[in-house]
């Protein structure tokens, strides 16, 4: 088990267990994320990656273990508290609100800290959103929805982003666009924890990879270990 005092980690997850109803989804998960780092959780469907993100965000009610963020224990805090500590979450299903326009969706999350991305910069990053400002949220294409979902959490000033499968179901050209955006966020100093099944996509971006199986992290690789570990990872992922 990793110790809580991980040198310099901004987020430390230690011995995290989580349940959905009767079924247990996390079985003692351990990992940490350092400031400015991009860590990717890899693993098959149902391995517990999404549950890990949801637990960090305070969206899983039944859980035990430690979630330490910027020297503060968050595992017993409600989601709205955690959000105000500077963690933002972009869910797998994107969570675009159907009854809200694109503009309303974008402006929905309250600003929780200074230093959020100004709206002009967001438009520069995602020009489509400006054009579709007043359309209904769900009338967007899959790629536009994903962009909106990411753009939405950049405005708020949160510097720690949880991205759940940002490339799911998107055309390759859009995937590349999203990769470019994530690269830029990294350069701007954001810390990212990402769940991704598109291994090639993740391989280009992440600093470290945690392989998740049966609700725990079974192996961790640094970027420079990747070539040697590719085969192993492919076995884990079943690619």
């Amino acid at each position: 088990m990793s110790k809580l005092e991980n040198n310099g980690a901004i987020l430390t997850v230690a011995d995290l267990h989580a349940w959905y109803g009767e079924s247990k989804a996390l079985h003692g998960m351990n990992f940490h994320v350092k400031p400015g780092e991009l860590v990717t959780l890899l693993g098959r469907n149902g391995a517990g990656k999404t549950t890990a993100l949801r637990s960090i965000m305070g969206l899983v009610r039944r859980k035990s273990g430690a979630i330490r963020f910027a020297d503060e224990e968050l595992s017993h805090r409600p989601a709205e508290f955690i959000a105000r500590r500077g963690i933002a979450y972009c869910p797998e299903e994107r969570g675009i609100f159907a009854s809200l326009s694109v503009g309303e969706n974008l402006e929905l999350p309250p600003v929780i800290a200074t230093g959020g991305m100004p709206i002009d910069e967001i438009f520069a990053l995602f020009p489509n959103l400006k054009r579709r400002w007043s359309s209904q949220g769900t009338k967007l294409s899959g790629g536009e929805q994903q962009m909106l979902a990411i753009a939405r959490i950049l405005r708020t000033g949160a510097k720690f982003l949880l991205l759940d499968e940002p490339t799911e179901g998107l055309a390759p050209v859009i995937v590349q666009q999203i990769a470019a955006v994530i690269q830029r966020l990294k350069e701007q100093g954001y810390t990212l924890l990402m769940v991704e099944q598109n291994f090639r996509f993740a391989a280009k971006l992440a600093d470290r990879y945690c392989v998740v199986e049966h609700g725990r992290v079974v192996e961790t690789f640094r970027r420079d270990e990747l070539d040697a570990a590719t085969h192993k990872i492919e076995v884990y992922l079943g690619v």
């Binding site: 009767e22 098959r44 149902g46 009338k139 799911e168 179901g169 390759p172 995937v175 291994f199 690619v239």
Partner: protein
């Protein structure tokens, strides 16, 4: 191939299958033909429309356009239970067992249906006669015989999937649709379930949605690749895996 499949004997033919959810097309103009007595895999990145296609074929969703034929008969207008009665039994992505029933009862529920007494509210359960032998056979086939009297909820994930297959087999379906049979399994379990699928595929047609490419490569005779709701490529693994569009859509772009 180990199957003696006729080249043009199709059990399922879907034409122009389209499903639109409030303006968003999840599946667009998909044509899918599945050869009798083959294992056919439906693959593609998450959100490509695989599960939607599945739901359309089993009528858990109604297509916005298109038609589906099973053994030459148009089944587009049928209800999901009727599709099942025709001999197409599906599984679900999240394990579909009856959690508060025992493992044996799970199988019995399926065995009971062809007996035609399911509406008999005036009869005792004992009127079902002795299903025990058949239950034992089926459970033995999937390696669950020792769990007969345990509640299904307490099984491990892999065993739940095995139970699901036993329940499906109990109906002796002409066609089985498996929705991500390997999802959530560790690689030890994958081998077992693969073996099981290969075993039950004799004299049956199997259509499966699967994420695990090595499983698909090893099991399937034919593969349809979906991306963004459309058919991207089709053919045996050797062909599909070389298709550059598939490589890009499924595994990600290769340029570094």
């Amino acid at each position: 191939m180990h199957k003696n499949a006729l080249q043009d004997d199709y059990i399922i033919e879907a034409e122009g299958l389209t499903k639109t959810f409030s303006g968003f097309s999840a599946v667009r103009n998909v044509n899918l033909k599945v050869r009798r007595h083959s294992i056919h895999a439906l693959i593609g990145p998450n959100g490509a429309g695989k599960t939607t296609t599945f739901n359309l074929i089993t009528k858990f969703l109604s297509p916005t356009a298109g038609c589906i034929r099973f053994n030459g008969e148009d089944i587009t207008a049928l209800r999901p239970a009727d599709v099942a009665l025709k001999g197409i039994i599906r599984s679900f992505q999240i394990s579909a067992v009856f959690p508060r029933m025992t493992v044996g009862e799970n199988v019995e529920i399926a065995l009971q249906r062809p007996l035609g007494c399911s509406y008999h509210f005036w009869q005792s359960e004992r009127s079902l006669g002795n299903l025990t032998e058949r239950v034992d056979q089926l459970l033995d086939a999937v390696g669950l015989l020792g769990y007969r009297n345990r509640p299904a909820a307490g099984l491990s994930y892999g065993r739940k999937r095995a139970l699901e297959i036993a329940t499906t087999l109990a109906l002796d379906p002409e066609m089985m649709l498996l929705d991500e049979p390997m999802s959530g399994l560790g690689h030890e379990d994958v081998e077992r379930i693969s073996e099981l699928i290969r075993k039950v595929a004799a004299q049956r047609t199997i259509l499966m949605v699967e994420h695990n490419l090595s499983v698909v490569a090893a099991l399937s005779d034919n593969i349809t690749v979906l991306a963004a709701g459309q058919v991207l490529s089709e053919g045996p693994y050797s062909v599909v895996s070389q298709d550059p569009r598939v490589v890009e859509a499924y595994i990600g772009s290769v340029d570094e």
